[in-house]
Symmetry: C2
Subunit: 180 residues, 2 copies
Amino acid sequence: MATSPTTVHRLIDAYEDILLTDGERAATLDAIARRAGVSKGGLTYHFKSKDELAAALFDRLRTLVDEDVAVMRADPATAAAYYVTSSLDVRSPLERCNVAVTRLAQGSHPEANELLAQCRTRWFEVLMDAMGHEDMVHLVMLLGDGIYFNASLTGTGAMPEETDPATIDRIMALVRTIRY
Amino acid sequence: MATSPTTVHRLIDAYEDILLTDGERAATLDAIARRAGVSKGGLTYHFKSKDELAAALFDRLRTLVDEDVAVMRADPATAAAYYVTSSLDVRSPLERCNVAVTRLAQGSHPEANELLAQCRTRWFEVLMDAMGHEDMVHLVMLLGDGIYFNASLTGTGAMPEETDPATIDRIMALVRTIRY
DNA sequence: GTCACTATACCGACCAGTCGGTTTTTCGAG
DNA sequence: CTCGAAAAACCGACTGGTCGGTATAGTGAC
């Protein structure tokens, strides 16, 4: 890419942001350009179509998942706890991107669906290597998904009982008592 | 409502169906009418606006949750297992409606968000009465959400490792070993 | 006659993508 | 260093199409 990284980056940020807070429908080219502080023409200069923008978002997710998986591989002992608790941090680049792509997937975007499936497979593998017990991995991943699902709902509007870190810690303590 | 219940029912079914399989964007008035086997005029005869259709969908969810909560209250001992395993049945009227409303909520539909929050509060209360331990209730609800989240993704396209009932049973067996 | 529609046409708003034009940046020759 | 031209970055009006909603004439059943 010979283009200035800042504007391109800002455009993907804007797309991600609008998908997150207002959903797929609100993510129009005009709205994205406006949020990124450029004109529509400026947007289309960098991304010829909306699909290209989506592709860039997908690339971002791939990179972020690569990093995340590397972190988990570096310390297998805390991988499960890391996976679950990090699902809670809606403000992290990974979670933001993940939720954004999920919004596209739920708009029946085949490529988004496929990408999410790949990411989940990778997380499954690394957790499997770290824990060595398939059912426990499924349990941990379901917990992560549940937290993540809650967060993705709270992100859009108002939700009661927002799951807080302390509760997650206590839940993980309960999970650690499981003998397998 | 003095209108024929079957067509009205079919229209809500069609709306739900399209939301489920193709997302909010695809759920146009034309598409809904077509799937229900009526003309667009037929649709607008029963529902003056799209919001009215959504309101009918919300009413349906409220009714289904009422029934679900009643089932859980009838047998507190199995309430937790029931909650988790029933999340898996994407074909049940409740889960279908729940996913459909979630699609609307993720399009930042305030009313859908509020309704989902109310439903979650009700499930939380009934599980709390049945289990008596807040962290365990959270754990069970997170598992349910995780399953439900997975199902809602697999529903749209292709997803690997589709969580199967046998796995859920084994996971619930693990959960039951937790002493609290 | 009324109810429950069908069929069709239309309107205004909105949206993705195009295009001609303008500004800014880069860079090599003098 | 600086002038000028090309390339990159960006603007905004416009087009073709879609969607929500409205309107209206007509039809078959009760």
